[in-house]
Subunit: 300 residues, 2 copies
Amino acid sequence: MTHPAAELPLGASEFTSESGAFTSEFDRDTAVIARTDDPFVFDTEFSAGWTIGKGVNGGYLIALADRALGRVLPHRDPFSVSAYYLTPSLPGPAVVRTEVVRTGRTMSTGQASLFQTDDDGNEVERLRVVAHHRDLAGLTDDVRTSATAPALPPVERCVGAETAPGGVFGSKASNGLIDRLDLRLDPATVGWALGDPSGKGVIRGWLRLADGRENDPLSVLLATDVLPPTAFDLGLNGWVPTLELTVHVRAIPSPGPLRVEISTRNLAGGFLEEDAEVWDSADRLVAQSRQLAKAPGRVR
Amino acid sequence: MTHPAAELPLGASEFTSESGAFTSEFDRDTAVIARTDDPFVFDTEFSAGWTIGKGVNGGYLIALADRALGRVLPHRDPFSVSAYYLTPSLPGPAVVRTEVVRTGRTMSTGQASLFQTDDDGNEVERLRVVAHHRDLAGLTDDVRTSATAPALPPVERCVGAETAPGGVFGSKASNGLIDRLDLRLDPATVGWALGDPSGKGVIRGWLRLADGRENDPLSVLLATDVLPPTAFDLGLNGWVPTLELTVHVRAIPSPGPLRVEISTRNLAGGFLEEDAEVWDSADRLVAQSRQLAKAPGRVR
């Protein structure tokens, strides 16, 4: 299968920035193509560019699924998105099957399932997503939050991929994701990379897409699941597979870098929750998420 | 339609306590009856006993939906349950349609939709649920949580429904739910009932089922959504309809009262998140939940 983006006309507004010329990596790699015989089914390809090891990043997958939902629902912006991870996604062709569950005046609800075909030719479901959509630009400006943005050192004093001590971002060869992101972690939260995890279960940093694409509600979904896992800061090492991830997108992000803080309080019974807060450059809390994940067994 | 519980043989283990004789209100009112021609479809009735005003409580609904999932999945305990609320549920007959999404050795995934029939005879979907199930008794005892149980005064110094100042639990006539619960709120978190909300957005209390039924993973789902809404403590008054609720059940509760604390940090754009933590008598965090809800417009 050719990459779906190759079939897209350049200049299509969904895949370009406001200048009309630039196609971002994120938009290209989450593109979905509606089938002519069924506009609720989309062909796509999970890009090897968004992998960690052999697996495809869960935040990338939820964004891709929600992009398809934005096509079939009358409201384009994700408002609440819940993803149930079923089987490991691999780079390669995939199909998104969507369902319009309910449409209302201000909010609509949809479901999307991502499928890949196994070696025997059977469709295997990777991820099931249910989501409420609405027009986030139509929300009121009333904000009475007691949440405060994470205190981060300036970007230039944070730890980027190019200056990171070994282990912060894993082996570059096994991690396509790091080339897609401009992620700069608070040095106070990377002690684990030097063998000295804080034990607090908190990691935070500045985040932009590496190619300079500004953030929108879709990329905010991605942002909730791309930092190194909090388990590392709890002194554990290994895979932390996500079982379930729910994101509430609370506002359209302003241009500029995001600040993302992830935290874990309850590691118990072999599982942990990981909460993410995503803040924009205007100090608005643009997304809150929680995931349930399997804790790695190995001590770091 | 007769109440489904009336058709159940007394002594069926699912609807009795360990003594084998007692049928709890919660088990009776969340009972689901599989159709003989399709074991994935269940008939039920939303009980007027679990209402607030005209609406049926969202925690009750998620528990009822998950009870049906426990019948069709190989793993009976809810582990992660996400509910998308679509239309207001009313007391009366309902149908639960379930789907087995995936079964694995240690975890299985299902989907359930609750439907009611409108005046024109059309089935209307009330709630869509996706859930991972597993055997919670099989989880390891490893606990490394940094979460701490809420500090509550002894039960006898908390505010019960019978001693509550007007407004804590609403009018009894309009609130069947209060008769089902033995809920005793921390006096420090009920100032709003006396016109003096703290503004912190936190409410906590002791919770048992009024008829003495001990808690299990199903009733823990209920427990995440039965306290008066945090919006009251933020100085707002009125309905706080839930749009989405995800619960992670992290352990089987020990016998005895639960402690439940709900909190809101981010009231913005007319919506708020409400997080619940449910602790058991053995000081284990047995559930974590988050819901997205519409904020009431009226100042209290």
